[in-house]
């Protein structure tokens, strides 16, 4: 009894936790497929892929992605190089200085990104002026400044990742290479670098993601090269469309894809290693029997499911035409609107009769339309039934139908037009 209660509460906790964690992402992803002009999940109108099309026609978004990719690549190169140098230095430095050195090199992580952004801007502007260069010089270029600014702290992240691996490196391996005739450069390239490769890959991915999502530092340095995050932030100021949901969905899908791919690869290596260990000498000398890619590899299975799903979705998207559905919805809305107008007219008729009957009490008349406020389309008309009280309500109701709760200020004008 006690344990089952415990188990149930753990499951409930997990459910809440994951709903909290993933819920917003799921909802946002779903809104990317709803034809409603404003990103929302309910009411569901029509399945559509139009927002993806719209996304890829938005020049500012595309340009932002391009800038983000360029800056990401630059940041990866610079941060991984600096991180590796810092990590190597840490292993070489006099042991007594090590703790101090570590603190100094980790410090940028603790400094707010805003400060880093401003200081990067100020510092390079100074240098630019000292060198007597103009405002259009290389040193004041947005891409250069953003790469430099982001790398100040992303390099520290990279170093942390690289140090962890480097600590497992046996310096005797480098010595062995030297002893066998290699130069220091050869020993580094042929022995240490291959050993560090997995950590370098992790550091590069980390650096890229950190660069891609960075806003605080970039907002001071981007100059004429706004990144995707900057563009998104500016866009949201003028209202948000499901095209942004579509972008979010693509990013989520890519993340899941690469996570699964990585997992499947790791699992596969594990299985191969296990198989090699178990194999006898003769087997190895002859032909190694690799386990099939999927045997005991959950991630690989999921990956295939994922791929199939993607193909299905893309296939549907090219064949599917939501025009009919959208037209139906429009018609439906029109019908409903007309119905409402009729109702309103009737109500007004009644009210006029009531008013005539009891002239003193206006409060009662106001409370009457309120209950219809909360559900589905009903709310659309609610505010107007009050505002339009007394004069030509019909035209008023038609001009503000998509005003819904929560996002009232940022509604998209598209849905207005579709209603008429």
């Amino acid at each position: 009894m006690n344990t089952s209660f415990l188990r149930i509460s753990i499951w409930v906790y997990l459910a809440i936790f994951f709903a909290y964690l993933l819920g917003p992402l799921v909802i946002m992803s779903v809104t990317a497929f709803n034809s409603s002009g404003f990103p929302r999940m309910s009411p569901w109108e029509c399945l559509t892929f139009q927002w993806f099309g719209e996304l890829f026609q938005d020049q500012r978004i595309l340009n932002g992605i391009k800038n983000s990719l360029i800056i990401g690549a630059g940041t990866v190169a610079l941060s991984v190089a600096m991180g590796l140098a810092g990590a190597l230095m840490l292993t070489q430095i006099w042991p007594k200085l090590r703790a101090t050195y570590y603190t100094i090199i980790i410090a940028p992580i603790l400094i707010p990104g805003v400060v880093l952004g401003i200081s990067t801007l100020v510092f390079w502007d100074r240098i630019n002026r000292m060198l007597g260069l103009g405002a259009d010089s290389f040193l004041s270029n947005g891409i250069f400044l953003t790469v430099i600014g982001q790398s100040t702290f992303i390099a520290s992240y990279c170093m942390l990742v690289l140090v962890a691996r480097l600590q497992r490196y046996d310096m005797a391996l480098t010595e062995a290479a030297l002893d066998l005739g290699a130069t220091h450069a050869q020993a580094f390239r042929k022995i240490m670098l291959p050993f560090m490769r997995p950590a370098i890959a992790s550091a590069a991915v980390l650096a890229f993601l950190a660069s891609f999502e960075n806003y605080n530092t970039t907002t001071f340095t981007f100059g004429e090269y706004p990144t995707l995050t900057i563009e998104l932030a500016q866009k949201v100021r003028y209202g948000i469309t499901p095209a942004i949901s579509a972008l979010a969905f693509i990013i989520v899908a890519l993340t899941v894809f690469f996570a699964l791919l990585n997992e499947a690869k790791l699992k596969r290596q594990e299985l191969v290693a296990a198989a090699r260990k178990e194999a006898t000498v003769e087997e190895l000398a002859g032909k190694i029997k690799l386990p099939s890619f999927f045997a005991g590899n959950m991630a690989a299975v999921l990956l295939v499911v994922f791929a199939v799903a993607t193909i299905t979705v893309v296939g549907t998207a090219t064949a599917y035409n939501p025009a009919q559905c959208i037209a139906d919805v429009r018609e439906q809305k029109q019908l409903e609107a007309e119905q409402r107008i009729q109702e309103l007219r009737k109500q007004r008729e009644e009210r006029r009769k009531q008013q005539e009957a009891q002239e003193a009490e206006q409060g009662e008349a106001q409370s009457a339309p309120k209950p219809s406020n909360n559900s589905g389309f009903g709310n659309v008309f609610a505010p107007n039934s009050l505002g339009g009280d007394g004069d030509d309500g019909a035209s008023d109701t038609e001009s503000e139908p998509s005003n819904n709760s929560g996002f009232g200020g940022v509604f998209d004008p598209n849905s207005l037009q579709s209603d008429q």
């Binding site: 002893d179 066998l180 050993f195």
Partner: protein, 370 residues
């Protein structure tokens, strides 16, 4: 056997800060010789080897390889190859890539490397294992791969840092013979480091016995065993019974020592100390367990020791008798087993006899820790 390339250490000092790891080492290693440095852990053996291979600069003195001073020459330019204490095989490379790494550096083609790797794999009795990773081999196999990798570089001098210490006893004994065979086949100079006197004795042409950065004695194994220079060498190499005392009388190459607990005993002065011991000096004499025989009871003199048998141990080829001499002195005796002729002495008093030439006297000094 080819003449080979010799190695000389001249007045070699190595310091780490104030700590002296190697103190004035002078060693001449002949070309083609199997030379061992034997000493307890921490006595500076690895340090010497690192100075020879070029990873460490001597604080003073010189390292000469083939008569050429190695000062300022890096490890990758010296004609040496080092087998590391932990082997240091490259974990991400296949066995054949490991073995032929030195060829890759020189720009050899993959086909050439494969061919050479196959030859060396045959030599170390691991044919067809070239495509494995080091982690897929056993300790003994990895050991042999490390040897092959070093030999592939065609060094004039092979340096081995306790290469067998990680192996189990059986394998260690097998590898001893194998190493010796390899050395004789390739004919190059081997400098071998070990704290295991059995290894040093079975394999080496010459042995240097080291104690805390100092080389006590350089000689062949037999001499080290039978004619140690110092109390440390006598106690570190092989088992020995030590008797402390003072020199009572000097007679040519022999001394009579008045021991603390076993009366006056006679011993031969070790060769290096002849003429250097005089009356009244603190001295130590060493008698190996197998140098004793059991004498008829009642026999007495300057080469007899009486003792009471505590317990006996049968080891197959020998009986080990643990006795307690006068004043609680422990004496170990080892009597070869010839069949049925041995009688149990437990609890009895026995008289032990030794030949004077089998007892060695040296000036009193530091003993090896047990």
């Amino acid at each position: 056997m080819s003449a080979g390339v010799g190695v000389d250490l001249e007045n070699l000092w190595i310091r780490f800060g104030d700590f002296v790891a190697v103190r004035d080492a002078n060693v001449n290693i002949n070309g083609g010789e199997f030379f061992s440095f034997l000493g307890p852990s921490g006595c500076g053996k690895t340090t010497i080897l690192r100075a020879v291979s070029g990873f460490l600069d001597p604080s003073e003195g010189n390292v000469l390889i083939g008569g050429k001073n190695m000062k300022g020459i890096g490890p990758n330019k010296r004609p040496t190859a080092l087998i590391f204490q932990n082997l240091a095989l490259f974990p991400l490379m296949k066995i054949w890539e490991n073995i032929t790494f030195s060829m890759e550096i020189k720009g050899a083609s993959a086909a050439q490397r494969r061919k050479r790797a196959d030859e060396l794999l045959d030599m170390i009795a691991l044919p067809g294992q070239g495509d494995k990773l080091p982690s897929e081999l056993s300790g003994g196999q990895r050991q042999r791969v490390a040897i092959a990798r070093a030999l592939c570089a065609e060094p004039d001098v092979l340096l081995l840092d306790e290469p067998l210490s990680a192996l189990d006893l059986k394998l260690r004994q097998h590898m001893r013979t194998e190493l010796r065979e390899i050395q004789q086949r390739v004919g190059i100079t081997f400098i071998y480091i070990t704290h295991d006197q059995g290894e040093a004795l079975t394999m080496s042409d010459s042995i240097a016995v080291m104690r805390a950065g100092v080389i006590d004695q350089i000689a062949d194994g037999k001499t080290i065993y039978n004619d140690p220079n110092t109390a440390f060498a006598a106690s570190f190499v092989g088992e020995n019974n030590v008797f402390r005392g003072k020199v009572k009388k000097v007679m040519d190459n022999e001394v009579l020592i008045s021991t603390n607990r076993s009366g006056d005993l006679v011993a031969r002065v070790s060769t290096a100390n002849q003429g250097k011991m005089s009356e009244g000096d603190a001295a130590m004499m060493f008698i190996r367990p197998e140098a004793f025989t059991i004498a008829p009871t009642g026999a007495a003199g300057d080469h007899f020791v009486t003792a009471r048998v505590n317990h006996e141990e049968f080891e197959g080829n020998a009986f080990n008798i643990f006795t307690e001499g006068e004043g609680g002195k422990e004496i170990k005796v080892s009597i070869p087993n010839h069949g049925q002729s041995f009688e149990d002495h437990t609890g009895q008093n026995i008289t032990l006899e030794y030949e004077t030439r089998n007892a060695v006297a040296v000036p009193a000094g530091e003993l090896a820790a047990e």
